[in-house]
Symmetry: C4
Subunit: 223 residues, 4 copies
């Protein structure tokens, strides 16, 4: 391990990957986290189960998805992560999951409407939905960048696929992935309730969303 | 720790906060518990994850939400908790969550109807729903006090937001939060079943609710 | 403990009560198990949380629900358990829960239809639903006995309340409670699917139910 | 143990059976795994709870379901597993569960439509549904073989019953069982969402399914 680059980021990524199954966001080997590092990024190896991940198994690539260091093949989503880092310089980490409620919204190709204060806080509005793109190349990354550019939400769902979240750090992107599933579930339940009671779905007032997002971004938490 | 006030309440609050994720009531840092103490209240620090809470991190404020003791910023809901203590002298503790099923009812702005004996026991009828209020000030507290004054329910849901529960002790308020989510789920499922089977939702007879509530309040448990 | 009667049954009951929260069948202090013993029955004390139960805390009563031994008040459902033992001599144990999916069916006052081979195996047909009865007396027990007499199902749901299961041993009654929630959930999901797809719910053929129940009762398991 | 055949397969099967409850695929004693070995197969004993399984308790049978070695009765599904091994020579392991969402689809007798890239990856299209067959004989096995012959999916649901998955190894068949429940849930949620929003369910384009399946089969994972 001492001979490998970025030992701290490798340890951090390994630990944070375990949060994915712990929070019910992934099944078997689906889902992955990457982190931007000097000269490229570190990402999960392809098809390895979460409990078998080690700091050494994380793969270092450049931002054209070429492997620089590592004995494993990198995630199938490597080109997509790389595309996001190339085009969104403020992004320090990317998380991808197939968390079940968010994926159900993705299957329908619908943005998740903003019905809850917790959603206004974290996402500043609805969670947008990008179009369909095949896995393996950078088309998914292009769709993420197209939709999230200029958008307040750190999360996007992709038609018929799953969730991508971005953040300045792996922990921040993970938080967005955890919160995306949480609000996807509550909003799903609210929509079911609305349908069964025959009442309309109540979205938040955009002015209130702005106030909540501003407070959460600038006042909430420890300074 | 020895130099800080109320060491026992601080320990108690720290332990009870861990019951929130354990019971599926909170995600990431959402949710908080406070307890009334001599001269004010103790409350969770803002934006700290539950596993990182310590007795020392709890913040002592007066009942106008001014920090008296503590190195952390208090919860964003501090002014709301303080308002509740100022106006409801019988309240010794307040719990706030975004538990998913109760929050789905809140998103629809609907009280949770009383369909179950367990709900008559703990809440003495429906769980009422308060109007929308922004986070950060005491408007939420004012809505909680307005609706729960003279009401048997120790729980309220708030439009587009989540759940507040009150109790004589932190454990009692926590119990109300756990039971609120439990009945919110069962009643949600019953309403879905009613819709899919094309049968009406069956609410309990108010006279039976009174008898159940009376027995649970006066006979149930150890004396 | 050495001075208390039935130490083995007390230990067994304490351990089996922990299976209730582990299997998601109860919340806080709801739910209880009793076992018939010589001269009466042993039952959970009222309002005690599951992790605080001890063999010593179990209460011995006669079959008229009078406490014979124990420093705690017995469960609010004691008269109901006693009524069941008095009227159904083959019953050696009773389990009561408010497990969420079965309780949703109970809230609608509908028997759970037999759609699954697992349900034919364990219950020999639908899980029947009894009428509403208040808690505290033996009316619930009377409703359980009325409905389950001559019925193959070891489980019954009660209007607006929850689930009772019976068995020759505490483990068998617990199994019925676990399976009742499992099939209540799968059948709930099937009914939702039927409604959303616009297709009818498919119940099993009664002749197939008989064959499955016979095989499960007489062939399944270790001899 | 040293005197029993196939000690490694016995240990592997015992460990993998524990993955069934851990992944929420089984309740009480339902569900089982078998593995093909020289001269027959090893399978779970009937009606034994998962935590009580040992390598020694696994039963060795020939491919006509006759017990060759073991003191326990084999699973009720033994004839069905044997039938599958006799007719599908590429199958090295079989898993059977009543996982709740897949079983709900089975109750309706409907194939699970392919709405998700994760489903195209693992199953190469919809998960097919076989007809009703009684438990205990080899009729279920015949239905599995009839439907899965020439089909890309390693999973099948059976009318009013549950799920069977096949694979070259026990781990591969287990993975298919875990993924089958995962996609059964997400597709269930998507169908509910479609119904409540009044929008049609969006299935994947067959050409895209082919591309995804090909990439997942030939490129994904470690080589």
């Amino acid at each position: 391990m001492t001979s490998l680059s970025h030992p701290e980021v490798r340890r951090d990524l390994t630990a944070l990957h375990l949060e994915l199954p712990k929070n019910g966001l992934v099944t078997w080997t689906s889902g992955n986290i990457s982190a931007r590092v000097d000269g490229g990024m570190l990402i999960k190896p392809s098809g390895v189960t979460f409990e078998n991940l080690t700091p050494e198994s994380m793969v270092l690539t450049d931002l054209d998805a070429n492997v620089l260091e590592g004995t494993h093949s990198p995630s199938s989503d490597t080109a997509t992560h790389a595309y996001i880092y190339r085009h969104l310089p403020h992004v320090g980490a990317v998380v991808h999951t197939h968390s079940p409620y968010a994926t159900a919204w993705a299957a329908q190709g619908r943005e998740i409407p903003c019905l809850l204060t917790a959603m206004a806080d974290e996402f500043g509005g609805p969670i947008p939905c990008g179009g369909f793109a095949l896995i393996g190349g950078e088309q998914i990354g292009a769709e993420v960048v197209r939709v999230l550019t200029g958008h307040r939400s750190p999360a996007i769902i992709l038609q018929s696929h799953g969730v991508f979240t971005i953040g300045p750090t792996p922990k921040a992107a993970l938080k967005a992935a955890v919160m995306a599933e949480d609000v996807a579930r509550s909003v799903f339940l609210a929509v079911q309730l609305a349908a069964s009671l025959g009442t309309p779905v109540k979205t938040l007032d955009p002015a209130d969303i702005d106030k909540l997002y501003d407070r959460y971004t600038n006042v909430y938490g420890q300074r």
